[in-house]
């Protein structure tokens, strides 16, 4: 059974493996090895028999082939209504066939499944809302990704990502030391402007334990500082954990369920250790979904809920503005037309539709909705891990067209996007399609708009 050196069925649990993968630029050798990767059909079928139950079985069986899911899929719309992009077709020809053949499939089939599961579906779960039977193909593609991962068929970046979680308990190689150093650095850097600014680490019994996305300490440390400033101005009793601060899960995109469990358990352990009243996660959609919505199930928590009440950043912002903890300077409200990008991971998968509208009512004078919006909104085009996968760049960029047209139709020149994935997607969209728009998280906007209480202002020398 040929197993590649880089592309194989083994999980990445050691730094040497990870470094070898990272050294293979663009995954050239990795994908070459994938062409020769054998399938362990017995193991595949055993896994399917154990995990393919009522819900999936029924979904595949009763699909009436009515095609109502077609128009719900942004890939279908972006690809000139190519029938091969109909969600039902995509799942029947991949997972459906895999089941029919009882796992007796070849390498070409598995690669086709991988290409479909990653470049033709971002698991936005919109189709499930439009199917009369409630057949959620996004969920099924998530399941398929898991089967593929177990056989070594996962995009190079996803293999690396899941390995990062296994080794660093973060989607990037940020160690505990790196993380603490970054917090201290940001505190020093910003405390001149905001006297008394602290980033309290491992403080027990605080009101809020703040968690984030490893990209922030790695590439966007100012985001941590901005979060700290806003908590500081709002007078919050908050902390960050030295370990268990990472909420994201590339392992979820990859379908590496064991790594998903490892990752969320570090966050839950931090909750148990520090006993905060609540947890707030940064402006990231999939982080929220991974740790708050799905995570408790990976960790085997029967209530389906994390150990303490957990909020997305937008929920904290709305509450802070509503209660006056943060006050917006009316003169600084956004005057230009502005629109808002709903992240699938917390709108369709967690119901946070009203909260952002409330925030907009406080900060924007000319807020314009995209159409459709809220739970019916389209994926930004970069979800499901797609932003990070080089192999499917072209497919992603075509998929962008739907969101591009949605944004342009609003006439807004500014898109507020409290989700790292959407933020990246819109940035790349602008780079490719030159729409003449700006995009932003909430934090930098709020920093510019909030009134700084007199006692927190820097003293004139």
């Amino acid at each position: 059974m040929p197993e590649g050196i880089l592309c194989n069925k083994k999980t990445v649990d050691a730094k040497e493996q990870l470094h070898a993968l990272l050294a293979d630029a663009g995954g050239k050798q990795y994908y070459e090895e994938m062409n020769h990767l054998d399938i362990d059909k017995d193991a595949l079928w055993t896994t399917i028999r154990k995990t393919f139950k009522s819900r999936f079985k029924t979904w595949l069986e009763i699909c009436a082939h009515c095609g109502l899911c077609a128009e719900s899929c942004y890939y279908y719309l972006a690809n000139n209504r190519d029938p091969k992009q109909v969600p039902s077709y995509k799942i029947q020809t991949t997972l459906g066939k895999l089941i029919k053949r009882k796992g007796d499939v070849d390498n070409t089939f598995m690669q086709m499944c991988m290409d479909t599961a990653f470049s033709k579906c971002s698991c936005c779960t919109r189709c499930g809302v439009y199917c009369p039977f409630g057949i959620d193909m996004g969920i099924m593609f998530g399941y398929l990704r898991g089967l593929l991962f177990s056989q070594g068929f996962t995009p190079w970046e996803m293999k690396i990502g899941s390995g990062m979680h296994r080794i660093y308990r973060a989607q990037m190689d940020v160690t505990t030391e790196d993380w603490i150093d970054t917090c201290e650095w940001m505190e020093e850097e910003w405390e001149d402007d905001y006297p008394g600014l602290k980033i309290p680490i491992d403080k027990e019994n605080s009101d809020i334990m703040y968690t984030l996305n490893a990209r922030e300490p790695k590439h966007y440390p100012q985001d941590i500082a901005e979060a700290a400033v806003l908590f500081h101005l709002a007078g919050e009793n908050w902390t960050v954990p030295s370990e268990g601060w990472e909420e994201t899960s590339l392992a979820m995109f990859a379908g590496d369920w064991a790594a998903c469990k490892m990752q969320v358990e570090t966050v839950y352990a931090a909750m148990e250790r520090l006993k905060p009243k609540s947890m707030v996660v940064t402006e990231c959609g999939h982080a929220y979904r991974a740790t708050i919505v799905e995570g408790p199930y990976w960790a085997g928590i029967k209530t389906g809920q994390p150990p303490v009440e957990s909020l997305h950043y937008v929920e904290w912002v709305a509450e802070a503005l509503r209660t006056g903890k943060l006050k917006i300077d009316p003169a600084k409200k956004i005057k230009e037309p502005v629109t808002y990008q709903d992240s699938c991971n917390y709108v369709r998968n967690a119901g946070l539709a009203d909260i952002p509208r409330e925030i907009m009512s406080y900060i924007a004078e000319d807020f314009r909705e995209m159409k459709p919006n809220r739970e019916h909104n389209f994926c930004c085009g970069g979800g499901g891990g797609l932003n990070g996968i080089g192999r499917y760049r072209e497919e992603r960029n075509i998929g962008f067209k739907v969101k591009r047209d949605q944004i342009l139709a609003t006439g807004a020149k500014l898109v507020i996007s409290p989700c790292h994935n959407c933020w990246d997607a819109i940035r790349d969209m602008e780079e490719i399609y030159h729409m003449g728009i700006k995009w932003t998280f909430l934090k930098p906007l709020l920093i510019d708009m909030v009134e700084v209480p007199e006692h927190l202002k820097p003293k004139e020398e």
């Binding site: 009522s54 009515c66 095609g67 109909v86 029967k302 967690a350």
Partner: protein
Amino acid sequence: MYPFVTGPLLWLSFTIFVVGCIVRIIGYIRGLDWQADRVAYTTHFSYGMKGAIRSIAFWLFPFGTRSWRNNPVFTVVFFVFHIGLLVTPVFLLAHNIILKERWGFSLWTMPESVSDVLTVGVIIAAVFLVLRRIALSEVRILTTIYDFVVLAIAVAPFVTGFIAHYIASDYKFWLIVHIICGEIMLIAIPFTKLSHFVLFFMSRAQLGMDYGIKRGGMKGKGFAW
């Protein structure tokens, strides 16, 4: 022949239909797995039921969901088809006369003109569904022979019943064909895609529970999921 198809064969068909449907429902529920499905079905049962009922109700009403509203022609045809399919056999005068003869009771019956309209409605809707399968590329690519067979099984009792009642010179022959078609449909329900007769409710309830418990039902006011 007539005593056989309306006697033992009818009993057999009804038994298979009823037992089969019950087995499908029980099998579905037994195959649910809170951890694999990632829905805390029992811990938050009341939220789950609320979500489930909501999900079924919105979809049972024409234009109750955005998907129905986005496809008005299909929606009308779909409801004409399904309402006719379910209501006609139960409240048809002729069926209730037999019921009365056999068991001494009958249900409310609809005027024949109404059942005629419903029957013709089912047949026209079926023709539309066939044409739609052929005409629309996004439906054509999904369509298999099996879809036409299932549709034929569902519509055959209506076509044959209509022929027997209004067209055929050989009433007895067409009546027997009609009865056999009805029995085939009953038997086919638990074993084919027609199992959506019960599994529609199971599947919708499951997704409804998913939304009601996990995907926002406990937080916001929700939407027509």
